[in-house]
C-alpha cells in the first residue's frame, strides 16, 4: 500500500481517479492549485485506488494524504 501525498500546500483543484481505478506509476491522480498554478501529483507505484482521501476544494498542506493505492 502506498499513499500519494501533497508535494506542496494548495487547494485540491481536480481529483482524476476514483476508488477501484487501476493506475500506473507516473500517472497523475490529483491536480493541486497553488499560487495560481496547477500542480499535477502523480502516483509513485502501479496499483488500484483503494481510497480517495482528499476532496475537490479542500485546502491541504505539504505531506497531507491525497489518495491511497494498493
Amino acid at each position: 500500500m502506498t499513499m500519494v501525498k501533497a508535494s506542496m500546500a494548495g487547494t485540491v483543484w481536480k481529483i482524476l481517479v476514483s476508488e477501484g481505478d487501476k493506475v500506473e506509476a507516473g500517472q497523475d491522480v490529483v491536480i493541486l492549485e497553488s499560487m495560481k498554478m496547477e500542480i499535477p501529483i502523480a502516483a509513485e507505484e502501479t496499483g488500484t485506488v483503494k481510497q480517495v482521501i482528499a476532496a475537490e476544494g479542500d485546502f491541504i498542506n505539504v505531506d497531507d494524504d491525497l489518495v491511497e493505492i494498493e
Binding site: M8, A9, G10, T11, S34, M35, K36, M37
Partner: protein, 453 residues
C-alpha cells in the same frame, strides 16, 4: 480631490496606491482576507476590513462584500489595482451604480476589451494592425483544423477571455491542434467561464512591446512611451523595461499613434495599455488591451517622471491631463524584474515563511515589496512578492545596476526566481537588447545555462 479611496486589492499594489494617496492627503481603506491579516498594506491603510476567507472567490472577488465596506466606510472612489476585479466589467458597473467612482475606464469599455476576439474586431475597425486570423468564435476542433490549414501553421490557439497565458497555445500541425483545442477550451471555460476560442497566425521571433496611455474625460490622450516586456516565463512577464531597446524611433512614433487611435476609437478614459507583438522587421500587431494599471507601470514612471496612480486619481476626479505629448520628456532607462516565490528552474510555487529579507539600496533603485522578514507567503495568491526597479541614464548602466542589486537581494526561507533573473540579465543577448518572447524557453534548453544544470 477625493478624501477617501477604497483599494480593492492586496499586497504590493495596495501599498503602492496607499503611498500616492498618503502624499495627496487621501485616506485609504484596505480590504484583506484572513490569510493577509498580518500584511504590510493592512497596517499602512487608514482603515482596514477583513473581507472573508483566503480563497479569492470568498474574499477579494466578493463584489457584494467589497461594496458593503465601501459604503460603510463612506469612500468616494474605488481603485481596483491590477488582477482580481480590475478588469471585471460587472464590478465596475456595480461600483458605478452605487454612485461610487471606479478608478478606471467605463464598464462597457472594460467589457469590450475583455474579449480578445471583440477587441481584435474593434482594433481592426480603428485601423490598428492586427495579426492575420479569424474574427469569429471557432465552434469545434474540425473548424479549428480547417481555419489553421487556411492560415498556415504554426498558429496560436487563443481563448477570447484568456489572460496570463491560460487557454493559449502555439501549435505546429494538425495533430498538435486536435490535441490542444478541447483542452484549452475547457481550461478557458473553467478559469474564465468562457470557452470561446480563436486562431491567429504565429509571429516568429516576436517582441512584446506595449504603449502606456493616459486619457482624461475631455478627449486628451497622452501616450507615455512604450515598454518592452519580451522576457517571459510560462507566458508571464518577468523582466520589463522602458524604453524598448529593440524598436526604432520611427516604429515608436507609429506605435504611439496607433495606441492613441485605439484609445480614441473606444472612448477610453484613465490609464490603460495597448499591447503589441513586433516581428523581426518591426511590423507591429495589436495583441490586447489592458484596461487598468499594470504591474510594470514603474518603469514608465521612472523615465517619464509621472506618478501614474496620481494621474489615475486626477482623471477619475474629472481633472484635465495637464501635460501634452510634446511636453513629455523621456529621461534615461529603467528596468523592472518581478521577484516570484517560486523555484528558479521549475518555476513551481514556493509558499512558506520568509525568515530573512534584506533589500539593497542605492541611488536609482526602487522597491515595490509586499513582504518583510517573518512574512508568510501563502499558496492562495499570485507568487509575485516584490518588484525591483532600477533607473540609470543609459541602458548599459541600468543593466549593471540591476545585476548589482539582484546580487545583493536577500530572501531566505523560500525559493525565489532571483538566480534565474540574474542569469537572464547577465546574458549577452539581453545586454544587447535583442531578446524575444522565446528567450527564457530557449535559454533554459540551451547548453549555456549554468542554472539548469
Amino acid at each position: 480631490m477625493f478624501k477617501k479611496v477604497l483599494i480593492a486589492n492586496r499586497a504590493e499594489i495596495a501599498r503602492r496606491i496607499i503611498r500616492t494617496c498618503n502624499r495627496l492627503g487621501i485616506e485609504t481603506v484596505a480590504i484583506y482576507s484572513e490569510a493577509d491579516a498580518e500584511s504590510l498594506y493592512v497596517r499602512e491603510a487608514t482603515e482596514s476590513y477583513c473581507i472573508g476567507k483566503p480563497p479569492v472567490s470568498q474574499s477579494y472577488l466578493n463584489i457584494d462584500a467589497i461594496i458593503d465596506i465601501a459604503k460603510k466606510s463612506k469612500v468616494e472612489a474605488i481603485h481596483p489595482g491590477y488582477g482580481l476585479l480590475s478588469e471585471n466589467a460587472t464590478f465596475a458597473k456595480r461600483v458605478e451604480e452605487e454612485g461610487i467612482i471606479f478608478i478606471g475606464p467605463k464598464s462597457e469599455v472594460i467589457e469590450a476589451m475583455g474579449s480578445k476576439l471583440k477587441a481584435r474586431k474593434t482594433m481592426a475597425a480603428a485601423g490598428v494592425p492586427i495579426v492575420e486570423g479569424v474574427n469569429e468564435p471557432i465552434a469545434d476542433t474540425d473548424e479549428a483544423a480547417k481555419i489553421a490549414q487556411e492560415i498556415g501553421y504554426p498558429v496560436m490557439l487563443k481563448a477570447s477571455a484568456g489572460g496570463g497565458g491560460i487557454g493559449m497555445q502555439l501549435v505546429h500541425d494538425e495533430i498538435e491542434l486536435r490535441k490542444a483545442f478541447e483542452g484549452n477550451q475547457k481550461r478557458a471555460q473553467s478559469f474564465f467561464g468562457d470557452g470561446t476560442m480563436f486562431i491567429e497566425k504565429y509571429i516568429a521571433e516576436p517582441h512584446h512591446v506595449e504603449v502606456q496611455i493616459l486619457a482624461d474625460h475631455y478627449g486628451h490622450i497622452l501616450p507615455v512611451f512604450e515598454r518592452e516586456c519580451s522576457i517571459q516565463r510560462r507566458n508571464q512577464k518577468v523582466v520589463e523595461e522602458a524604453p524598448s531597446p529593440f524598436i526604432s524611433q520611427e516604429t515608436r512614433e507609429k506605435m504611439l499613434d496607433a495606441a492613441v487611435n485605439a484609445a480614441k476609437t473606444i472612448g477610453y478614459t484613465n490609464a490603460g495599455t495597448i499591447e503589441f507583438l513586433v516581428d523581426r522587421t518591426q511590423n507591429f500587431y495589436f495583441l490586447e488591451m489592458n484596461t487598468r494599471l499594470q504591474v510594470e507601470h514603474p518603469v514608465t514612471e521612472e523615465i517619464s517622471g509621472l506618478d501614474l496612480v496620481e494621474e489615475q486619481l486626477k482623471i477619475a476626479n474629472d481633472e484635465n491631463l495637464t501635460i501634452t505629448r510634446k511636453d513629455l520628456q523621456k529621461n534615461g532607462h529603467a528596468i523592472e524584474v518581478r521577484i516570484y516565490a517560486e523555484h528558479p528552474i521549475t518555476f513551481f510555487p514556493s509558499p512558506g515563511k520568509i525568515t530573512k529579507l534584506v533589500l539593497p539600496s542605492s541611488d536609482g533603485i526602487r522597491h515595490e515589496v509586499a513582504v518583510e522578514s517573518g512574512s508568510v507567503v501563502t499558496p492562495f495568491y499570485d507568487p509575485m512578492i516584490a518588484k525591483l526597479i532600477v533607473w540609470a541614464p543609459t541602458r548599459i548602466e541600468a543593466c549593471e545596476k540591476l545585476v548589482d542589486a539582484l546580487s545583493n537581494y536577500v530572501i531566505e526561507g523560500i525559493h525565489t526566481n532571483i538566480p534565474m533573473l540574474l542569469e537572464v540579465v547577465k546574458h549577452e543577448q539581453f545586454k544587447n537588447g535583442v531578446t524575444t518572447t522565446k528567450f527564457v524557453e530557449e535559454f533554459y534548453n540551451s547548453e549555456n545555462s549554468t542554472i539548469s544544470k
